[in-house]
């Protein structure tokens, strides 16, 4: 039994001359929930598709459950559940037909799970997919993905477009899956609340480059922020190590930085005529700072001039 269910090594993808994924080195350990975060167009979906063997890397390799992604066998696909963000299912099928299709093409099938999820979403087997709402379709897709009892669940933005009730059901499902088993969930999401709830580990990819890979609770712990209040001319900032983000407001500067907390604090407090206040950083702020443009971005308010 290997330690890692997903491994990538120097995974790189070019689209034309643009680099979408830049030498990604990931290792997702077995068991637990792994959140893969990044802005739209950051290389997240491309990476996931490469992992599942639906895109070919330009360079480097990636593998799932020890098998190279370009050489997946049906036996391996049986062990992976994959849910895409569009929650696709054939519109012409009824739910019962979806079940028939899915159970006929996967090795394992757990009727009970399928029935439970369908019932939870309040769906009838006779309903046609094209008549369902987004959330209901998501329920069907979830049922189809969970019923084969896969070892690894890969979810690409599973909560996209879901109403709060469906989102909750999704979260519950994710937690049930990883309860007391060696099953792993690898998912991406923009809903940082959900990420905070369920993830063990976080990875953040920005413009194709991996910037963060750590246990979720550590991200906020290693990040700190300060508010500098001043009157008069804008002070020049000292060298801040691990600087993530600087936002300027009239009379106020906010700084978010990673690591070297004491050192940075010392330097800041050494500034004359500036009131330094340390503000704790929560997970969501930390994630957003990683994704945001380095440093000098103005807030939308400032840009519009509200």
């Amino acid at each position: 039994m290997s330690d890692f269910v997903i491994e990538t090594s120097g995974l790189t993808k070019y689209y034309g001359s643009k680099i979408a994924v830049n030498q990604l080195d990931l290792a997702v350990p077995r068991g637990g929930v792994f959140a893969f975060l990044g802005r739209n167009g950051s290389g997240k979906t491309t990476s996931i598709r490469m992992l599942l063997g639906f895109e070919t890397p330009t360079r480097g390799s990636c593998s799932i459950l020890g098998c190279d992604s370009q050489r997946f066998t049906p036996e391996l696909r049986n062990r992976i559940g994959y849910l895409t963000e569009s929650h696709f299912a054939y519109g012409w099928m009824t739910i019962a037909e979806c079940e028939r299709f899915q159970s006929g093409t996967f090795a394992r099938w757990n009727d009970r799970i399928f029935a439970a999820v369908i019932e939870h979403f309040g769906l009838s087997r006779k309903a046609r997919i094209k008549d369902l709402s987004r959330g209901e379709k998501a329920g069907v897709c979830l049922a189809m993905t969970l019923a084969p009892e896969p070892e690894l669940l890969v979810l690409d933005d599973p909560a996209l477009g879901l109403d709060p009730v469906a989102r909750r059901a999704l979260l519950e499902a994710m937690l049930i899956v990883t309860q007391g088993t060696e099953r792993t969930i690898f998912f991406s999401s923009h809903l940082l609340d959900d990420v905070e709830r369920v993830s063990d580990q976080i990875a953040i990819i920005d413009r194709g480059v991996l910037r963060v890979l750590c246990p979720s609770h550590e991200l906020a712990e290693r990040t700190s922020s300060w508010i500098l209040k001043y009157a008069g001319p804008t002070p020049t900032l000292p060298e801040i190590s691990g600087l993530l983000n600087v936002s300027s407001f009239p009379g106020e500067i906010r700084i978010i930085a990673v690591g070297a907390i004491d050192e940075n604090e010392q330097r800041l407090r050494a500034l004359a005529g500036v009131d330094v206040q340390r503000v704790p950083v929560n997970l969501q702020d930390a994630v957003v700072s990683y994704m945001d443009d380095r440093g000098r971005r103005k807030s939308l308010f400032q840009s519009i001039g509200a």
Partner: protein, 720 residues
């Protein structure tokens, strides 16, 4: 697998039904519209069927695939515990089955319908549907074309379509091989079909697995795809070039603005008339090399203008298949029958127009009722042409055509291997008018009106005093050509007597003496005319790479006075382009050039004696091959292909010319190159090590904010 089949079937049944309806409408509609004819025998029906089958199969493959190709839907379909090959196989089984049902069910019904007497005014033979059946079957591989078009991951839609070439070529080949002796023909026809299906299945199966990307395919698939694309591009280019050259022909600078047309006059003199191409006006006239005045109203009839049978792969449909009935144009007013010639029985059968039942039989004995079994039979039918549109009939004193007297028409003169028969169904007359020598069987007959060149002759209203045009009958045998000039002695006798009594009593029989050194067995489409003391021969020498036209002006005893050799304009212009562009196209051109529809000596300029082009086809092919190989080599090296691929692509480009180069450019992408951070030289991004300095790639830029913990502490053992 059964689940996959079920899903494909449910999803696509509706298209199958649509196809079935269309096929029904076409096949049964064609028959109901013309119940006098056995449509299954007609090449029009078959070519439409063939085209329709190819399109239908392609569309079906398209419909089954192109919607599945969007990213998430494809992932949904492919990410399951079955192999991509199984998925494709299920699609193929369902798709091709629907296609076959749509094609064959109406065919079956049509056959049953036609076999019942009284439904179709034509005889029935169980082998009649074999050709359409095999057409439908051999075009099934086009289903894969539809799939490939949907799958291929290329940016320009034009190149997406370039996958029809290989199945088209093999499909046409398959149908073409059908012509000769039937059972061997059927077997021969099945072989290319099987090969076609196998190749397309291999290519498509691999493509489905690899999402249509060339670079990911296995070697056999790559070869098949490269060949397919190259053939498709070649076909597309030939079509465009052919079309373009046809449209541009009058305006091409190379083409002559004038044509010289050659003919022999009554006394054997050689007449050459120069005609302006665009206005068709006569510019100059020479007789035996001497210029003479041009008369405004002069419209020369060109004896050297003849129609030859078109060269279609498989040759003469009716002659070659001894089982199948051939529709004949024996029209008659009284009997009201539609006539068919049955090669196996050697008789003609007439089916009544209204009752559509077999009413009469024509054998050498005459016109018999259907109930009577004929005791004699005709020998094998050969080609016979009587200039249609020209009703060669006698004229009375006022030069009006005499409708009563049986005329010589294309539907009254029939050539069989052992002789020529005059068959006039209405009067019941069946008479052998010419017997071929037993060792020199007949191969064809031509009868035409020979018009004196001094006369203007409008079809409907001949001048009152125009002399009767003699008929020129040319009987082509296997070894010899015999000509007969048919003249009526005087009007009265012709009008009062049945024409045929006089007809082929040899009033003037001339056999040709071949000029020395000519062996007619080498030449095709030999044509000769004799007038007075001289003869004009035109033939095509297809033994060279480019078919060369020879025109000889000789004395009756065989002494050649002038010999012109040239290739036709068509070859001249197109062959200039083709070899550099499409070497296979040149080969095809060379093969077919010699068998064009008309030999028109208007292409021969009088000054062109023994003109041989400096570069023959072979030279052109070689030069084209070398140039293409070099360019291909350069492109391949630039694209960093492996050594084996390099050799393969170079050879491929040498053979396929421009279309091969375009296939190479289309399939093998140029790898993106960036500057190596260590040595500064360009290096491909898909190679982990720089080819020059062996350095790896720089790690992605870090800015001090990275948190990378690869081996996190494991969660403490559960507390409960």
């Amino acid at each position: 697998m059964s689940t996959l089949l079920w899903k494909e079937f449910r999803e696509n049944l509706k298209w199958g039904v649509v196809l079935l309806i269309i096929s029904f409408l076409y096949q049964l509609g064609s028959q109901f519209i013309s119940p006098y004819e056995q449509v299954l025998l007609y090449s029009n029906f078959e070519s439409m069927l063939g085209l329709g089958c190819a399109i239908a199969a392609t569309i079906l493959g398209l419909l089954q695939t192109f919607r599945e190709v969007s990213r998430d839907r494809w992932a949904y379909l492919m990410h399951r515990g079955v192999t991509p090959q199984q998925i494709l196989r299920a699609k193929a089984i369902v798709g091709i089955s629907l296609y076959l049902v749509a094609g064959l069910v109406p065919l079956g019904i049509l056959c049953v319908w036609a076999a019942i007497p009284g439904n179709v005014a034509a005889p029935w033979h169980p082998l009649i549907p074999v050709r359409p059946f095999l057409t439908i079957l051999s075009l099934a591989p086009f289903w894969f074309v539809g799939v490939l078009i949907s799958l291929r991951d290329v940016r320009w839609y034009g190149t997406r379509l370039m996958v029809f070439g290989l199945p088209a070529v093999l499909g046409i080949f398959s149908v073409a091989l059908l012509s000769s002796s039937y059972f061997i023909g059927i077997l021969c026809s099945l072989v290319p079909t099987v090969i076609n299906m196998a190749l397309m299945l291999i290519l498509t199966s691999n493509s489905v697995e690899r999402r249509g990307q060339y670079g990911q395919l296995a070697t056999p698939s790559r070869c098949i795809l490269a060949l397919n694309i190259s053939i498709s591009i070649a076909a597309a280019m030939m079509f465009v070039l052919g079309l373009g050259s046809q449209l541009a022909r009058p305006y091409l600078a190379e083409g002559p603005k004038v044509n010289v047309r050659t003919t022999i006059l009554e006394d054997g003199a050689l007449e050459e008339v120069t005609v302006d191409n665009l206005t068709q006006k006569i510019i100059a006239r020479k007789i035996n090399g001497q210029s003479v005045a041009v008369s405004e109203t002069h419209e020369p009839e060109f004896l050297t203008w003849r129609k030859y049978p078109e060269w279609i792969p498989g040759g003469d449909l009716y002659g070659m298949q001894p089982w199948l009935p051939a529709p004949m144009h024996l029209m008659d007013q009284q009997l009201q029958c539609v006539w068919h010639y049955l090669p196996e029985q050697g008789v003609f059968q007439g089916y009544h127009r209204q009752t559509r039942r077999h009413m009469h039989t024509i054998s050498p004995e005459g016109v018999l009722p259907a109930s009577q079994t004929p005791q004699q039979r005709f020998d094998r039918l050969t080609a016979s042409t009587v200039d249609y549109g020209v009703e060669i009939a006698t004229r009375d004193k006022d030069n009006k055509r005499d409708p009563v007297t049986p005329p010589l028409r294309s539907d009254t003169v029939y050539a069989f291997r052992d002789g020529v028969f005059y068959i006039h169904a209405e009067s019941g007359e069946v008479r052998k008018i010419y017997s071929a020598p037993p060792d020199d069987p007949l191969t064809g007959v031509r009868i035409t009106e020979s018009v004196p060149s001094q006369q203007v002759y409008e079809y409907e209203k001949p001048p009152a005093d125009s002399p009767r045009a003699p008929l020129l009958a040319e009987f082509q045998h296997k070894k010899t050509v015999r000509q007969f000039v048919i003249k009526a002695e005087d009007e009265k006798r012709i009008a009062s007597q049945p024409l045929h009594e006089q007809l082929f009593a040899p009033l003037e029989q001339q056999a040709f003496v071949m000029p020395k050194g000519l062996d007619t067995s080498l030449y095709s489409q030999f044509l000769g005319f004799r007038k007075g003391t001289h003869a004009l021969y035109v033939f095509v020498d297809a033994s060279t790479d480019i078919a060369m036209y020879h025109m000889l002006y000789a004395k009756a005893d065989g002494a050649v006075q002038r010999h012109v050799v040239t290739n036709s304009l068509a070859v001249e212009v197109l062959s200039g382009i083709f070899p550099v562009v499409v070497p296979p196209g040149m080969v095809v051109t060379a093969l077919t050039e010699g068998r064009i529809n008309q030999i028109d000596t208007s292409q021969v300029a009088a000054e062109d004696f023994a003109v041989h082009p400096a570069l023959t086809t072979v030279h052109r092919l070689l030069i084209a091959g070398v140039i293409s190989a070099l360019i291909g080599l350069g492109l391949s090296v630039d694209r960093k292909v492996s050594r084996n691929s390099l050799i393969a692509w170079t050879l491929f480009c040498a053979l396929m010319g421009v279309s091969g180069l375009l296939a190479l450019i289309g399939l093998v992408p140029r790898p993106l190159r960036v500057k190596c951070h260590q040595c500064g030289k360009l290096r491909a991004v898909d190679q982990p090590h720089c080819p020059q300095c062996h350095a790896e790639f720089e790690p992605p830029p870090q800015n001090g904010t990275e948190i990378i913990i690869r081996e996190p502490e494991l969660v403490p053992a559960t507390v409960e």
